[in-house]
């Protein structure tokens, strides 16, 4: 069940825990822990996306409020969530592997928020419940990624993250369907949606408790805790690369907006655009993760940003082909498939196991902060110079950042090259 990640951890040889290999003659795609974590994410995403899908409707049609306040609050929640993520990662690492405990707390907190939505009838209360939900999400993300990383071998890590992200996205696509089926079958069934969402979230916690093994501390690991210096040196390059590329990553909302306006996608299809990206992400996450195991995670990560460059380029053309929006969404999904899980796989290689949770959290937070900065800058550039100029600028910046990352050349395959020894 628990696969020791011996070679990537640090220079000391570790062999106390034998890697569990699948039975001969039957190759399993990923380890059972990764599969279990993917299942937990799938179930949890069904639950949370159910709520996402009906919340605006509930606020406006059910309570007579406007959801606009949340749009403005969301920045606050997101910043808070990023901070909580750092805390979650740190706490999960301390004491030698409390990943599962922290993840259970995070998933559990979000699950408990679902029935509370029913009781919260006014904007402040709903805001508080959603803030708690975001805290849960922030807490669980880093330990979960650390668990995926720690329970896969360096050779199969890309695939492990790819499978996990694909399952996660499948849940996100299913959630709204479940919610609308319930709303169709009921009369004002928001309470039913929230209750079912709670039950589904609770099932996710149960699966997590039963089927995800607790990470044991470094007790069987004869290597001493890695010194602080090594830790940070290992983190600098992946964080720098993720941050640099994040600076040229225009947020989804802008991509869909330009797509709709430049390529003339009818307004009623606007809400469907993210589904196109998600579908491509779902289909490509596992294959591209597998590819990253073969050719190295960083080339795939950089390649994903080349796909994003393709998105910018197509948005800048004046062509009006009905196929163009599909190609743009496919490339956009490819970008996510080649970067989201792959970055975690790539960064894992350089982070000692006893710092995996906090290390991954730092990389994610750096990337998120950079993307937030890019959104602000892009919005300002769009206002000042128009969308085409702003997009051209983003494309140029992306080319520069890709070149810079290629020059930085983070270690790509430490497992086979022992580059981190």
């Amino acid at each position: 069940m628990y696969v020791a990640d011996s070679r990537a951890s640090n220079s000391a040889p570790v062999s106390a825990e034998p890697a569990v290999r699948p039975p001969a003659g039957r190759r399993r795609a990923v380890g059972s822990t990764v599969f279990a974590l993917g299942t937990v994410s799938l179930i949890t995403d069904v639950s949370s996306e159910m709520v996402t899908a009906v919340l605006p409707l509930y606020l406006v049609a059910g309570l007579g409020l406007s959801p606009l306040g949340f749009g403005l609050l969301d920045g606050v929640y997101n910043g808070f969530s990023a901070l909580v993520r750092l805390v979650g990662g740190r706490f999960a690492d301390s004491g030698g592997g409390r990943h599962k405990t922290v993840a259970v707390i995070g998933y559990g907190l979000s699950a408990l928020c679902k029935p509370l939505l029913l009781l919260a009838g006014t904007l402040p209360l709903i805001g508080a419940v959603l803030a708690a939900d975001r805290t849960g999400k922030g807490l669980r993300t880093a330990p979960r990624d650390a668990l995926i990383s720690l329970s896969s071998t360096p050779e199969t890590r890309g695939r492990a993250f790819g499978v996990h992200r694909a399952m996660d996205t499948a849940g996100a696509l299913l959630g709204p369907l479940v919610a609308f089926v319930i709303l169709r079958r009921t009369v004002d069934g928001y309470d039913a949606v929230f209750t079912v969402s709670f039950c589904v979230a609770l099932l996710g916690v149960v699966v997590l408790l039963l089927f995800v093994p607790r990470t044991r501390g470094p007790a069987p690991d004869p290597a001493p805790r890695s010194p602080e210096g090594l830790h940070w040196r290992m983190l600098v390059r992946p964080t720098a690369c993720a941050t640099l590329l994040g600076l040229a990553t225009v947020s989804d909302a802008f991509v869909y907006l330009v797509l709709q306006r430049q390529l003339g996608v009818p307004e009623r299809w606007f809400a469907l655009l993210p589904l196109g990206t998600a579908a491509a992400f779902l289909l490509l996450a596992a294959p591209l993760g597998r590819l990253s195991d073969r050719v190295g995670a960083w080339p795939v990560f950089v390649g994903g940003h080349v796909a994003l460059l393709g998105v910018y380029a197509l948005l800048l053309t004046h062509a009006h082909s009905p196929a163009l929006p599909c190609v743009v969404l496919l490339l956009h999904g490819t970008f996510y498939a080649a970067t989201d899980g792959v970055l975690m796989a790539a960064a894992s290689a350089g982070i000692p196991r006893d710092r995996r949770g906090s290390g991954l959290a730092v990389v994610q937070t750096g990337q998120a902060a950079a993307r937030f900065g890019c959104s602000l800058g892009f919005g300002a550039a769009w206002t000042a110079w128009g969308d085409r100029t702003a997009l051209s600028a983003a494309a140029v910046l992306l080319v520069v950042c890709v070149a810079a990352v290629c020059a930085l050349r983070p270690t790509t395959r430490p497992a086979s090259t022992k580059a981190n020894a």
Binding site: S48, V51, T52, L55, P56, L57, V60, A61, L63, G64, S66, P67, G69, F70, G71, L72, L73, D74, V76, Y77, N78, G121, L123, P124, L125, G127, A128, L130, D133, R134, K137, L177, F180, V181, R184, R185, T186, V187, D188, G189, A192, T195, C199, V200, L202, L203, V206, L210, F211, A253, F254, E267, R268, F270, A271, G379, W382, T383, D387, A390
Partner: protein, 341 residues
């Protein structure tokens, strides 16, 4: 724990949770049967004819009381709004509604197999459908000009990530005499602080019309700030007048704007207070309502505004003097989207 134990626990959990989930869905779907019974203590609703002609001194709104007429348009005398209400005989349902001078605009959801779509239905004085137009998202605000010639509505578009990130609004204006629809005010020219202005993140919501059938007021949001804009339907231009104004509502005499203002220092969850802005002096008067109001207020006369707050049935209507004096009073329970006729 052995694998067998784990599977047993899992199956038990699945069964228990599925039972709770099924019960919740059945409970909610059985509500259709209970709809025919009003809840004890709730307002009494009967059916009858509802008309939108001006001068009846009546209040027309979306009834939210449980019973067979939930979500239908209903009417009460404006002088005794908490009394029995009369719902439309045709069972016309609206998420949001407004009417003036024999023209009504009803924002409805159309149930599809996998998701809802929305439309704005134009109604004549007898609540007969004259036309309908697609609405690109969840409908939020509705207004008709005092003469009944123009109608406007706002929808929330997007909102694809949890907790409603990336909402944007689209405010549409319809000329009911020609059927010409402006799907979004974003196509209007913007003059901000005296200069032409363009912004990708410009959002408009909460249109309110002047009596001249040429001018209107609305909210413009850009770069995290909101502005009161005065719009001109003939030149297709909007001009910023004042900052921090959302969901304006023009008084019947055309001299003041009631609006919700984001007050600094208040909780980010409940940031709004009701104010009235004098358009001649730009003097702001805080109203006596101390709760956060997330609604576009309606003037019942030149001295009072009506607005919705969350309540036991979803929303209740309240009234407060427009000069900052007095105290808010509950007008009626279980109602939203009022229009005075």
């Amino acid at each position: 724990m052995t694998t067998r134990t784990k599977l047993t626990v899992l199956i038990a959990a699945v069964l228990a949770l599925a039972a709770v989930a099924t019960a919740a869905v059945l409970h909610a779907s059985a509500r259709a049967d209970r709809r025919d019974r009003a809840r004890p203590g709730g307002p009494a609703v009967t059916t009858g004819e509802v008309q939108l002609r001006a001068g009846g001194h009546r209040l027309v709104f979306r009834n939210m009381a449980w019973g067979p007429h939930r979500d239908e348009l209903a009417t009460t005398p404006a002088g005794a709004p908490s009394g029995p209400r009369r719902a439309t005989a045709t069972g016309l349902k609206c998420l949001r509604f407004y009417a003036a001078s024999g023209t009504g605009i009803c924002l409805q959801s159309v149930h599809g197999t996998l998701s809802d779509t929305y439309r704005a239905t134009l109604l004549d004085a007898n609540l007969r459908e004259k036309a309908h137009y697609p609405v690109p998202g969840i409908p939020s605000r509705a207004r008709v000009s005092p003469s009944g010639r123009y109608a406007a509505w706002t929808a929330f578009v997007g909102g694809d990530s949890y907790a409603g990130t990336d909402f944007s609004t689209r405010a549409a204006i319809l000329d009911t005499s020609t059927g010409k629809l402006t799907p979004t005010l974003e196509t209007y020219r913007i003059v901000k602080d005296g200069h032409p202005y363009r912004a990708a993140d410009a959002n408009f919501w909460g249109v309110t019309f002047a009596a001249d059938d040429r001018h209107f007021y609305a909210t413009l949001a850009t770069h995290g700030r909101t502005y009161l804009v005065r719009g001109d339907l003939r030149t297709r231009t909007v001009t910023t007048l004042h900052g921090n104004v959302e969901c304006p509502s023009l008084s019947p005499d055309g001299t003041r704007i009631a609006y919700k203002k984001r007050v600094p220092g208040l909780s980010a969850d409940a940031p709004w207070r009701l104010y009235v802005l004098d358009l001649a002096t730009f003097h702001e008067t805080p109203l006596a309502e101390s709760r956060s109001v997330d609604d576009q207020a309606v003037w019942s006369d030149d001295g009072h505004v009506t607005y919705a707050l969350p309540g036991d049935y979803g929303a209740d209507l309240y009234s407060v003097p427009a000069d900052g004096s007095g105290a808010p009073s509950r007008l009626l329970t279980a109602g939203v989207s009022p229009a005075y006729l």
